[in-house]
Symmetry: C2
């Protein structure tokens, strides 16, 4: 297993603005919710988020043979949970997530509310799931949420059918 949270990948302090965006705050909340014994209490948000930063060279070093690493699956799970929760917060609707991942690291994640497909995304390279930077992580998440909310606004009746 590669150590992903090496000091170089911890975002600089000037990422303060990024840390206060709704999506990143939601992500941090979900990570901290899993810390049942308070062992991460001493860690700042940026340190926790560093788990999601997988630089190009680290990514290349992760083998894509065999089942995806539990760490990668954990990241994927928490990341898309944050996407779902953010959609719920923005739309005031209950969102269901269904995620299918094969051992080859391919799959799909579908978010639905009643009859509407709010978001459907093909997943590739799950073994190496992560982002080049925190900015990229935030941008991707926020865009997914925005697209989903736009879909709900485009089909309000179907989303409540």
């Amino acid at each position: 297993m590669t150590t992903l949270a090496d000091p170089a990948s911890i975002p600089a302090v000037d990422h303060g603005k990024l840390l206060s965006t709704p999506f990143i705050r939601c992500l941090v909340r979900l990570i901290r919710a899993q810390d049942s014994y308070g062992s991460w209490d001493g860690k700042c948000d940026a340190e926790l988020l560093a788990k999601f930063i997988v630089k190009e060279e680290q990514r290349r070093a992760i083998p894509i043979i065999g089942d995806p690493d539990p760490d990668a699956l954990w990241r994927l799970d928490v990341y898309y949970a944050a996407v779902g929760l953010s959609i719920e917060a923005r739309s005031d609707l209950l969102v269901s997530r269904t995620m299918e991942i094969s051992a080859e690291g391919f799959g799909r994640v579908v978010f639905t509310t009643k009859r509407l497909v709010v978001l459907s995304k093909t997943l590739r390279g799950v073994h190496r799931f992560g982002f080049d930077s925190l900015r990229k992580c935030e941008k991707t998440g926020t865009k997914l949420v925005k697209d989903a909310v736009a879909a709900i606004e485009a089909y309000p009746d179907v989303a409540r059918a």
Copy 2:
């Protein structure tokens, strides 16, 4: 592993009418498609379908501890593939399936076409997936297909969005 296809569970010949229903014919086609080496050529449809018949007492004998048996997962996969294919045949639309199953045998299967959730079903007791009789197998499948087609008819635009 319990042997599911014992002679008693093979449907009687008077099930001929059942065997010619669109859903069962689709299911048989999918089973035979997996027979790459023709080892099932000598078997009749009823024999192949017997895999899907899991009587109450057999069901009770299957442990629900540990990962679901590959046989049960295979049955689940082929069964819902037949549901998807039948929806496609009846609606002339491309249907995507996303299926998530936990090691505890719970999960969900979602069928979508574009923006529409055509069918969403919670799965329970995946370890013991099967039907009491061929009639039950056919009825359940045909009903799922019918409901899905009704949803497409109710939201024709969303299904093609």
